[in-house]
């Protein structure tokens, strides 16, 4: 199993292209297209880095779920797959780096914030990939379809914490989602938001350890 197979196999090629194309399109639309100031009143579309990062923060967990949804029946391959998931997410986001860097011109005076947003999306999406893998593997072991579980985990992780945005006092909880964390990073995150950004990563690490332990037990289990 070579690197190309890990990154591009099982629909990864299409997912990667879709992820990059959609994010890039969002960036293209985020740019100011009017020629004169008066045109801003004719076309009320304001340049902002937000649309790009909303798309990035939403699609990255979905990409992670797509990569985590396929469970190989061999436990050794499962272990390799689990360990490669953060790398796959990191690879996709690395490919989006030119877009993120370009989006910095839309964040006046705070050109480092887009890079911070990229970092928190990476951490959050890597965590989503591990959680989605764990959910998919649990379904696999019960003989159920893996994809719905992986996608559900990813969507829940990406969207449910965003409900906290409606409450001014509980806004920091939105940082649990990669999307919310990206928006907080662009706005200038508080210490609490940065802390909550790391919570999914912590949970994912624990999950990964537990899953790896279970996989190891499966590998070393006596064949019946």
């Amino acid at each position: 199993m070579n690197a190309a197979e890990v990154f591009l196999g099982n629909g990864g090629y299409g997912a990667l292209l879709g992820f990059l194309a959609t994010s890039g399109l969002a960036l293209v639309l985020s740019m100011p297209w009017v020629g004169r100031v008066g045109d801003y009143f004719l076309f009320p579309w304001r340049p902002s880095p937000l649309p790009f990062f909303v798309v990035l923060g939403f699609l990255a967990p979905l990409y992670a779920a797509q990569r985590a949804a396929t469970i190989h029946w061999l436990p050794r391959r499962q272990r390799l797959h689990l360990l490669s998931l953060p790398l796959q997410v990191a690879g996709a986001l690395f490919l989006s780096a030119p877009l993120v860097l370009t989006s910095a011109i839309l964040a006046p005076g705070n050109s480092r914030r887009p890079l911070l947003a990229l970092a928190v999306v990476l951490v959050g999406s890597a965590a989503v990939s591990i959680e989605a893998f764990a959910a998919a593997r649990a379904c696999f072991r019960r003989g159920l379809a893996t994809a719905p579980a992986a996608w559900s985990v990813a969507l829940a992780h990406a969207l449910l914490p965003m409900v906290a945005l409606v409450s001014p006092t509980a806004r920091f909880l939105a940082a649990l989602s990669p999307l919310g964390a990206a928006l907080a990073a662009l706005r200038g995150p508080t210490a609490l938001e940065l802390g909550f950004t790391l919570v999914p990563a912590l949970l994912a690490t624990i999950t990964a350890v537990l899953v790896l332990q279970a996989v190891r037990e499966e590998i070393h289990a006596p064949r019946s």
Binding site: A3, R36, V37, P44, R46, L95, P98, A104, I105
Partner: protein, 569 residues
Amino acid sequence: MRRIRVPYLSASGGWLFFLLCVALVSPRAAGSPSVALAFGFDGQFVRYHYAPASVTVTGLDRPTAARLLIKQILDTRSTPPRVAVHEIFRGTVSNATYSATVPAYDAVLPVLVQLVHEDGTVLASTTQPARQSARGLPLVVIAGAPLHFDGSEAVVSPTSLPSDAWAYDGVASVWLTSPLTSRAAWMALGAWVSAGGSLVIFSGEDFYQWDCAAARHLLPLDDPVVLSSVDQPSFLSGIPRPGARVLLSARGQPLLVRTPYGAGQVSLVTLRVRDLAAAELARLNVHVPRARPLLAAQSLAETLLNETRVLRPPYGFVPAILGALLAGVVLAGRFARKHARLAGLAAVLGVFLLSVACSFYVNLATTVAYQYSTETTLRITTSFGFSTVSYCFFALTSSVVYVNHEKGAFPVQAGVPTSVDRVYAMESALDATTLALPGGTRPVLRAHGRAPAGLSLEVADSESVTTYCVRRLLGQTLSACLLVVDGFYYRVPRDALDVPVRLVDLTQVSASALDGRETLLYRLVADWIGEMPDAWLVALSEEESIASDLPGRAKVRLADVDLVTGGRS
């Protein structure tokens, strides 16, 4: 008992001494100061226009370092309420009257005046209800002997006339019914008339009481003299100036003579007010025009802002980045099937190079501007200097805008806002104003001042040939320059600047033949300059800069319009 009393008494004495020290040291030792506000002309003002304000401070034991603030609450629905604050004095305050000209808002709530010590303590404050005094239409100001036409006139003493030309902003006409002896007030009235004001001067026997150089500039008569006779009151006579028209006559003599002056009008009544019958006063009132504000200056600022080019990356930049990225991934995917390592390395290297290129671009050529502003200065140079600055702002996101202005020349929002949400909170120090600007809005502000002229027009007559020389006093580059003589427009090319030229050397242009910039100038003056007997120069110079010291880059566009009347040599 004695052991208890002694420490008790000494403690009490200590406390008394301490309180005495506090009383002496604290700013409240300045006594019990109080402030009183007089706002508008005879208590009347026009909403969203300037109004003269006088704050009288009394009760100060000694001069105190403090500030005088006038606060007007704009909107109580927001938290905290949006307020317009104007600092009318900063320095050593004593028992005196402090005058200023401040923008008047809707005044639904009372106007608050505060005397604030330099340490922030409010020494005195008062509120004045102004709702009943606020008017929607310009008012007539009678300075001197009272006159009443419809009962809405503001009657003030000539000595209380403000010395800021822009204080007459909401005034339809000023009637000088008693002698005005203040040179500063004459200069302010002259500047206001140059910018479209309407002044009525009663003369007759009182003429010599107010005769001065500034007044003579405004008079429609040359060589004025007071003629007396036994059977009728003394009246002012003289040689009518070019452009002057006799509108009314009485007792065989001209009664009302009117002349255009700059964009405004001066009406001279040749008699004293007490020599006129009520019917004659009513006839005069019909012939006095209303002030004509130069609204075109504000629309010029808006026009220039609307046509300002947006600062942004080239159209194709981001699609090119995206295209290169996708192409790289597609190529890498194709090669991956055969040479996995090589393709992976190529993809990584390509993305790395693309990232580096984007980083360089972002760091070296960040070209998106989030704030745009135009500052259009219209200088009218007659014998009285007057300038009006129109600011037009547009910000993509909510931001704070700083406006530097002449001392005490606070900016005011141009036009009457359509809703209270369109009234912007601002805080004005003596020479700078901070404005909280919501994103996506395009407010226009105007301020006034006495900016010196940037151009001069010299007219010389020699051997029946008249030459005109446009001199650039600041060495500026003119983007449009028109010479207006007897209502005809002549284009002044660049090679005709700073040298005397004859009219035949210049190209006469009709309104339809003017180019874009010249049309902007034409709109500014077309409705009044045709009436003027003198030669006028109308010129536009422009400058554009990018202020990168702000959090979001701002594109600033400066435009100076000079309106200069020709002086003969």
